[in-house]
């Protein structure tokens, strides 16, 4: 079957269960396509031969009761995978082989999926274009020399380019939703505490969440029900009743109240994006939902708050990379010199910049003015959402202020790069779930995404809204395989 890699996850699962195709067929199909896709630079490490062995083993003794029976899957290289190199896109972890498995990936393998390889990402997930990776830029399958977004850029590129049927990314300030939007794919950032952070290389612990990235909403729902679990190994994991999101998926959203926040109509927003948003509002109405104008007054303070909170937590989390227990070590004249050179040579420019910001805002004399202040504003931002959710069931916004940009276009101006996440960052600060779905193209023909933000733990509701809208939008991703020779 030559069109295996064109099938959705749901179709593949069905066809494997009905014995129309084997896990070996599917795994071979994705390996062959991945091997021809070197120019995308989506993979950091492949695990193809071992994947094929596992697929053969599955076919010899298949278990069709599993949710992902014999499905091959590549994952972001931020998830620790036992005995498979895990780099976080950094030179400092270039040779790190975990002795344990992240809970999220363990959940995936327990449901029968097979690791294809580890996908490129911005270094320590710090970036919005996948240009900070030690392993180089990732290309967007949509067009040559276009960024795939970030930090889960390799993941987005791999799903859009059909190198993997589905994948997982992580989202600290938009790292799943922004690349999903840039590549015409679906990306869900779950509620903080829904998916375990155990075994995920930490960036900003109060914001980080893992989530699915898929070709459609149903696939996304299926993977979400696999990865979301209560985990005693993560002290912020929350024990709540999780749905079987894909089984309970419904396109009936009649009477739902969808908030339209006026503050997201930011200064300088291109008319094209505003028009696109209006079209989104129409789709929601066509589905029988009601839209209500709401206010989230502190929206414009979210990015400055994020650029204190996230670097502060990062500077603390990244203190562990000292060249002693694992990873890269530079030669030094003494212990301190070794630390300083290791971190100077091992971390890239963006990571160093953020460690410096974080160190500064936490340093003596500045803590109250910056870090404490940011935590207070974070409270105001969360209060805005709490207030809005007294009136509405979900909120609809664009996912990003623009479509994908060219490689190199924003690398010299950190602040303009940070502005990419203007619509996604407030969600992380408030710990809410949000999904980006592809909903149209801009004048250049590049995909644009709409974001649906939900109440905490209300993943089912935003998945349903996304599912209903997806039907109305009937988006088609325009992939011409330009990178395949």
């Amino acid at each position: 079957m030559s069109d295996i890699t064109k099938q959705s996850l749901t179709e593949l699962v069905e066809n494997i269960k009905n014995k129309k195709i084997s896990s070996t067929d599917v795994t071979k199909g994705f390996i062959e396509r991945s091997e021809k896709s070197g120019e995308l630079n989506a993979y950091i490490t492949d695990d193809f031969s071992s994947a094929l062995d596992k697929a053969k083993k599955f076919d010899q003794k298949p278990n069709f009761n599993l949710k992902l029976p014999g499905i091959p899957m590549a994952v972001k290289d931020l998830f620790c995978t036992k005995n498979v190199k895990t780099t976080a896109g950094s030179k400092i972890l270039n040779n790190f082989v975990p002795t344990y498995e992240s809970t999220v990936t363990k959940n995936i393998w327990n449901e029968g999926a097979i690791l294809l390889g580890k996908l490129n990402c911005d270094e320590f997930a710090m970036g919005s274009s996948n240009e900070t990776s030690f392993f180089g830029n990732v290309q967007n399958p949509i067009d040559k020399n276009l960024v795939p977004g970030g930090s889960s850029g390799g993941s987005a590129s791999a799903v859009a380019g059909q190198l993997t049927p589905i994948t997982i990314g992580t989202d600290t300030g938009g790292s799943i939703r922004q690349p999903a939007s840039f590549t015409g794919t679906v990306g869900l950032k779950p509620t903080y505490g829904s998916c375990s952070r155990y075994g995920i290389v930490a960036f900003a612990s109060s914001l980080d969440q893992a989530g699915p990235m898929a070709q459609n909403v149903k696939d996304c729902a299926l993977l979400q029900e696999v990865i979301s679990s209560y985990d005693p190994k993560d002290s912020t994991s929350i024990d709540f009743k999780r749905n079987e999101y894909s089984k309970e998926l419904s396109n009936n959203i009649k009477g739902k109240k969808i908030g339209i926040p006026k503050e997201y109509r930011v200064d300088g927003m291109p008319k094209e994006i505003d028009d696109f948003w209006q079209k989104g509002i129409q789709y929601v109405k066509d589905c029988g939902a009601e839209t209500i104008d709401i206010s989230l007054p502190h929206t414009s303070y979210a990015l400055p708050t994020y650029y204190i909170v996230a670097p502060a937590e990062a500077s603390s989390n990244l203190a562990r990379y000292d060249g002693v227990k694992y990873g890269f070590r530079a030669r030094g004249e003494n212990l301190i010199d070794m630390y300083e050179k290791t971190r100077s040579e091992g971390f890239g420019a963006e990571v160093q910049r953020r460690i410096m910001i974080g160190t500064y805002v936490l340093s003596s004399g500045y803590y109250d003015a910056y870090y404490l202040k940011a935590q207070k504003v974070r409270k105001l931002i969360k209060n805005d959402f709490d207030e809005a959710y007294k009136k509405v069931d979900a909120i609809l916004t664009p996912s990003t202020p623009s479509s994908a940009f060219k490689i190199g276009e924003k690398t010299n101006d950190p602040v303009s790069m940070y502005l990419n996440d203007i619509f996604t960052v407030p969600v992380n600060l408030a710990g809410l779930p949000a999904i980006s779905i592809p909903a149209g193209h801009d004048s250049k023909g590049y995909p644009l995404g709409l974001q649906i933000i939900g109440k905490a733990f209300d993943e089912q509701n935003i998945l349903n809204i996304a599912f209903a809208m997806e039907e109305k939008i009937s988006f088609k991703n325009q992939i011409n395989d330009w990178w395949i020779k």
Binding site: V97, T99, Y192, G193, S206, P232, S235, T236, I238, H298, S300, Y301, L303, P304, T305, Y307, I308, S315, D322, G323, V324, K325, Y326, G327, F328, R329, G332, E333, N334, L335, I336, D337, M338, E340, K341, R343, S344, Q352, R353, I355, M356, I357, Y360, S363, Y370, K373, Q375, K376, V377, R378, K379, L380, K382, D413, P414, V415, Y418, A430, G431, A456
Partner: protein
């Protein structure tokens, strides 16, 4: 506000990242533009606002204190940049 080279050197020392003169200048420029952007927070009065430290409204759970040893010392040591079977090795600390 303005972050000068002296401050950059100080932060560099605190964060154990050595920077040369050229990088320090570049970092000062970057950090100043980022902090200009962050200063926006001063528009807000927050005297009576409780800081939000975590969005997870949960109390830390206790677990039973059981030894769960996987006996993987060798594997762990193998990841260390300077090879030694039994210990992590660092440059000499005591003369």
């Amino acid at each position: 506000m303005s972050i000068d080279l002296k401050t950059i050197k100080h932060i560099s020392k605190l964060s154990r990242i050595s920077v040369d003169e050229q990088r320090a200048k570049k970092l000062a420029g970057d950090l100043n533009s980022i902090f200009d952007f962050i200063e926006k927070l001063n528009e807000l009065k927050t005297d009576n606002v409780e800081p939000l430290t975590s969005v997870a409204e949960t109390t830390l759970k206790l677990r039973s204190d059981e030894v769960k040893s996987e006996n993987i010392r060798e594997q762990i040591i193998k990841n260390s940049p300077q090879d030694n079977k039994d210990y992590f090795v660092v440059p000499k600390v005591i003369e």
